[in-house]
């Protein structure tokens, strides 16, 4: 069961600490990584693809409001990856406040599997994994 890889892309340092604790407590991920913005996550993703590394993330918890590259810009870049590769990356938008326009926008990206309002609980995380 402990075979999923999860990435957290969020600029909130406190939240990064909290989510790491929650991921650990969930016990369903073989590994997890945090990135302060979309750009760093994308750089890592591209590197994995270049190295033909199989450790692609199964789940990405993505914040929208981030410096350098926000969540939407990150999604636009993801769109450029071959569909047979990116289809296995399940992305969830995680935000403390979700506007309607953001929900509409998310429908245009096939990789976005859903919205999770903060705070996220261990059970919610387990439920996400079971849907993956």
């Amino acid at each position: 069961m402990k075979d999923k890889v999860i990435w957290v892309v969020d600029d909130d340092v406190i939240y990064q600490t909290i989510i790491n604790k929650i991921i650990q407590k969930s016990g369903v991920f073989s590994s997890h990584f945090t990135f302060p913005n979309g750009n760093e996550a994308l750089t890592s993703l591209k590197k994995i693809l270049e190295d033909d590394d199989t450790a692609l993330p199964d789940i990405i918890l993505l914040d929208i409001n981030m410096p350098v590259m926000d969540g939407w810009e990150f999604m636009e870049e993801i769109k450029k990856i071959k569909s047979d590769i990116r289809k296995d990356i399940h992305i969830y938008i995680v935000s403390s406040s979700i506007a309607l326009e953001d929900k509409n926008k998310s429908a245009t990206f096939s990789n976005i599997m859903g919205y999770i309002p903060k705070p996220i609980s261990v059970n919610e995380l387990i439920a996400i994994v079971s849907n993956t």
Binding site: D12, T17, I18, I22, K25, N65, P67, S96, P119, S121
Partner: protein, 783 residues
Amino acid sequence: MKNTENWGRFINWFAMRPRTAGFLVFFIFATITFIFSVLRNQILKDEDRNKMKIILNNAHQNIEQSLKNCYSTTVSLALTLDNSGVPQNFEAVSKQLIRSNPIVSSVELVPGGVIKYIYPLEGNEAAMNLNILSTADIRKEAKKSIESQKIYFAGPLKLRQGEVGIVGRLPIYNENKFWGFTAVIIKLNTLLKASGVKDIQHSDYYFQFSKKNPVTSKEEFFLPSKTDLSKSYYISQSISDSDWVLYLVAKQNVLVYPQVLFTSALGIIIALLFGILTTNILKKPEELEFLLKEQEAKLLKTEMKFKTIIDQAPVGFAIIDTASGNLMEANKKFCDMLGYTFEEIKKLGVNNVIHRNDLETFKNIKNLEKGIITDFSIEKQCLMKTGEIIWVNIIVSAFVESNEKPTSYIAFTKDVTERKNAEALIEKSQARFKSIIDNISVILWEYDLETKKSSFISKHAENLLGFSVEEYEENPRLWEEHIHPDDREYALSFAKKNKNFVNHEYEYRMITKEGKVIWIRNIINYGLKDDKPVISRGIMIDITTMKEAEKNLNNSLELVTEQNKRLLNFSYIVSHNLRSHTSNIESIISLIETAESEDEKNEMMQLLKSVSNSLDETMKHLNEVVNINTNLNLVTKPLKLSKYIKRARQLFTKQILTNKVTFITDVEKNALINYNSAYLESILYNLISNAIRYKHHERKPIITIKLYKENGKDVIEVSDNGIGIDLERNADKIFGLYKTFSTNSDARGIGLFITKNQVNAMGGTIVVNSIPNTGTTFKIYIK
């Protein structure tokens, strides 16, 4: 005198009888023609006879001459005889004689009456030895010469040797004793030929030659032409030494000559023509009199007709004497119009009914008299018999006889009171409309599309645009020239694009004569003629106030929209940021509850403290923003910008020195801006701070601060040569709260958010221009 009277009576008598006079003229001319013809005929006849005499004389003389020559021949022949009566050299002499007198065919010597010598003998042998004194048919004539003792020409007779001839015999005496004859034989044809009788070829005459037969005493004719001359006209002459008579006979016995006949006929024709002409001429007065009567009847009829027309005419008609001004004639309409009878007007005088003593009428009448004008028309008020005043249109023309001064005036009058009243109403109405048009606060205009000229513009144009109506009329391009330069192209193209001439309206700015800018709404429609627009009309309304109100409204709307946007943004910020912290707190509490050790709990407690501090910081920021936006009574005063820049620089002294920043200030030392002191300080601090923080690592930072005016507004410009911002990606979040777009760890996304709020709170705007890796420029527009 009496003779003259008689002559006149005589002439009149004939004038009254054109046919008799005509016949008399014919008779006189015919008589003259007859007398003339008779005289001319006689002259022609005399001429003819004289001509015959000349011809006859000529022929007669020729014969006489020939016979005389023959006498000479006989004498010469006698000379050949010697004393004994014997001829000497007869043949030689005869030959010579015949040669000299060619009409002689032969010569003979007849001694004792017997022909013994003949030259030439040949051809004449039959006559040889003929005793002429014993031969019956010739003896008598031979004896005639003996009796007369001179030459006698016998014949014409049939010669023994043949042919018809004449024999001229000269009796010769020797010692007073008859010896015999010398004779010449002349052939008749030769004689006639020599005399010219034979040759005559006259169409009008012919010759005849006769001799009284010595035996029968009857006249015998020897020429083949006509012998009965009793019915012919002829003249004759006897030939000496013979019994011959020569006749010249006219071929036709002409009584009247053709020339005379032609002349007579011509004369008769002329006489006839004169007769007819006289008759016709004398008939003319009669015809003229008839025509005159006919014309008189026509004239009378026409006059009656005209009189009826004038009497029944729907206009008044009057004739006025120029000298006295008295009414001479007037029709019923004229009298009825004024309510008087003709006699009453005549008695009153035209001047008392229709006043002619005004200046204009006086001037026109003078011009009419001088011939400067032929007529004039005037409208005057007239007093009726009833005391009522009516308006009358009078057309006056001069009646001129034989190029002299006018003897009378002809006046046509028409009651135009109704029209005048209507005109007065129209005039009043027009005045009212004019007053409305002049006083209405819009410009009414009309433009002739064919002449491309303004045909009307209301007076309000002067009030609104400052240009007089005359200036509009004089300069067809005035409107075009005074459209605001920014709107000219639009306004003109709008007018030009309207090819189908659809009624329309549009708005644009114009510049008045004083240079003021006003807003105009132009509502245009078109006047068509044969489906073609010939005129455009419109109303120009000053909508400046409305436009200003609209602008203010738009500004207010923009302000409200902006405030709403900011409020929404702020509420979102509040919601989002507070929610982040609360969700973190919630998660931490949950983690504390499920903590498996005290260390874990402590770790979570530390985390909770961090959240608390973060929340506090967020609250401070939000409070600051709330303060900025709710501080309605911001104190503004003139601030010396250079002083504030200097102060800001002092705050960054360490950074400036460390980073070797070049600081350029392009601001006048005493330049003032009206601003809030704290905000100006904060804005300069944030912008300079950013310029240093986001420096380019490959070059030394250069920060430039300028103050200048743009569209009348003060602008503070802060520019740097730093890393720049990718505005394509970050334009919407550059001034957002907690929006950072650099990898700098100390970037918090608060400075520009605060700066924008401060600028906006002061009523200004902030804009940014940036090129990545080149630099960034912020411009603050001060209200």
